[in-house]
């Protein structure tokens, strides 16, 4: 379980201080999928930064049930997270080297992941020789190959085409069912978020805060067909109205 307690983080800019997130209280159950949904500037990426330990909070704490879990991360700036001097294969396997995981087992795991995601990835090419979508998939595989206990995904399908986005999310759900990974993902697509998540955190801006927590009790396994059920559509409306509320507040603040 991951517990965020009264978490706040501000940045200093030339125009003054900007409060990215303020007073965030959240609990993520072990083996659950939490989707974070919100407008630009609502502190979603900051929240992930605090969760991964890349950012230090000004106030509050990030607590893990036991010792710090093994984390796999897909960055929003996924292109720049790849090492351009290595092939995709070496990029994907590099964290295993850093974590002293046996390379043979890692190779085997990579083969399995490629089968799960049914992807034909040009593993012997360098990042600059592949498309944005292929680079993003490589980042996802890199995060998964280490057998993470916690998977942190910042818009993990932003560079994929429509079909591949859904396919990737559904396969991720399949893998999650087998391995009980705790997943925290930022998504700009409420339908995609609803399809995989156990819970959706809707965030508002100025300052970044949680405005709604929406449980998603849809039965699993979920598929594309799930998106046309009345329960799914009701939940989608709920998410969108919560999001719309944050936008109205933003507009009112701007007018005021």
């Amino acid at each position: 379980m991951i517990t965020l307690r009264n978490l706040s983080k501000s940045y200093t800019t030339p125009e003054g201080g900007v409060c990215a997130v303020k007073g965030i209280d959240l609990t993520m159950r072990h083996g659950s999928i939490t989707a974070i949904f919100g407008a630009n500037g609502s502190g979603k990426s900051t929240l992930l930064g605090l969760l991964t330990g890349l950012l230090q909070p000004d106030a509050g704490t990030v607590e893990f049930a036991q010792e710090r879990p093994r984390m796999g991360v897909v960055f929003q700036d996924f292109r720049n997270s790849l090492l351009p001097w290595l092939t995709l294969r070496s990029n994907i396997l590099r964290p295993c080297v850093w974590q002293n995981q046996p390379l043979g087992a890692a190779e085997e795991r990579l083969r399995k992941l490629l089968t799960v995601f049914t992807i034909d990835l040009p593993l012997d090419r360098h990042p600059h020789q592949v498309s944005g979508g292929q680079a993003q998939i490589a980042c996802l595989l890199r995060a998964l190959v280490i057998r993470p206990q916690v998977l942190v995904l910042d818009e993990p399908t932003s560079a994929l085409d429509f079909t591949l986005q859904w396919q990737t999310v559904l396969q991720l759900q399949r893998l999650w069912t087998e391995e009980e990974i705790t997943i925290v993902m930022v998504s700009h697509d409420p339908e995609q978020a609803l399809l995989v998540a156990d819970r959706i955190v809707v965030m508002g801006a100025n300052p970044g805060r949680v405005v709604d927590l929406i449980e998603v009790p849809l039965p699993r396994p979920r598929s594309f067909a799930t998106t046309s059920t009345s329960a799914f559509l009701e939940l989608r409306d709920h998410v969108l109205s919560a999001f719309d509320g944050t936008q109205s507040q933003k507009a009112n603040a701007a007018i005021g």
Partner: protein, 246 residues
């Protein structure tokens, strides 16, 4: 190849116009044909061989010494705010001083033999390398270092696997810039610090005895060497640091 041909014709064209139109007196500027003919004679006679070898030895020793000193210092400055704070001023101060103007200091410190010339070249290269290596580290995308951090890389692995290769791009650019600078420094050092052999020595000797075609022949040779070094380095850059700028 076409670009090279155009460049060569441009230089020879301007030179020929300056010579044949009388803009420059023929005693000051021989025709390109005459200079190249003299260069051919000097090369075939083997008279330039000791000069070529002496300059090459000084250049290579100075260049590699400069890289070996400058790159680690630059990497350390880029990596550590503390080292950067300590060294920023001395580096900026010293690199603002033209190394050729400092040759009396090098003479006093290293004597009139090769050591002073090598030290001058090394110093010119080292400062370029310090600046480019430290920029290479500072300007590398933060995301890669963050990635290495969250995936559990130790500080050493982060440095070796991420920071260093990221800085290589800037360092290689620094080396390429230094190639030209170091060639200039070695020639100038040979002209002003007594030596028996060296392309700079040959250039100055030709000037002293008014052997103007020989002087231009040596200048052409230095230019060709500089160009070839640059081409060789570009080849190295394309094949071994292929990711830079991609």
């Amino acid at each position: 190849m076409r670009r090279i041909a155009i460049g060569v014709f441009l230089i020879l064209g301007v030179w020929s116009v300056a010579h044949y139109s009388g803009i420059a007196s023929s005693q000051m500027l021989p025709s390109p044909v005459e200079a190249i003919r003299r260069l051919g004679i000097l090369l075939l006679s083997g008279k330039l061989n000791p000069d070529f070898l002496a300059s090459g030895k000084r250049w290579a020793a100075g260049f590699f010494l400069g890289v070996l000193i400058g790159a680690p210092v630059g990497l350390a400055m880029g990596h550590s705010r503390w080292i950067s704070t300590a060294l920023d001023f001395p580096v900026d101060f010293l690199r603002s001083l033209p190394v050729t103007a400092l040759f009396p200091v090098f003479l006093l410190a290293f004597g009139i033999q090769d050591a002073s010339k090598i030290a001058m070249v090394a110093s010119a290269v080292a400062f370029v390398m310090i600046v480019t290596a430290s920029y290479g580290v500072r300007q590398a995308p933060r995301t890669r270092q963050q990635m290495a951090h969250v995936f559990g890389a130790s500080s050493w692995r982060k440095f070796v696997d991420v920071v260093l290769p990221d800085a290589v791009g800037q360092m290689v650019s620094g080396m390429r810039v230094s190639l030209g600078t170091s060639l200039v420094v070695v020639v100038v050092a040979e002209m002003f610090i007594g030596s028996r052999f060296g392309l700079g020595t040959r250039l100055y000797d030709a000037y002293s005895i008014n052997a103007v075609p020989d002087m231009y022949a040596v200048l052409v040779l230095i230019g060709v060497i500089g160009y070839l070094l640059n081409v060789a380095f570009l080849f190295f850059e394309r094949h071994f640091v292929f990711w830079v700028g991609k």
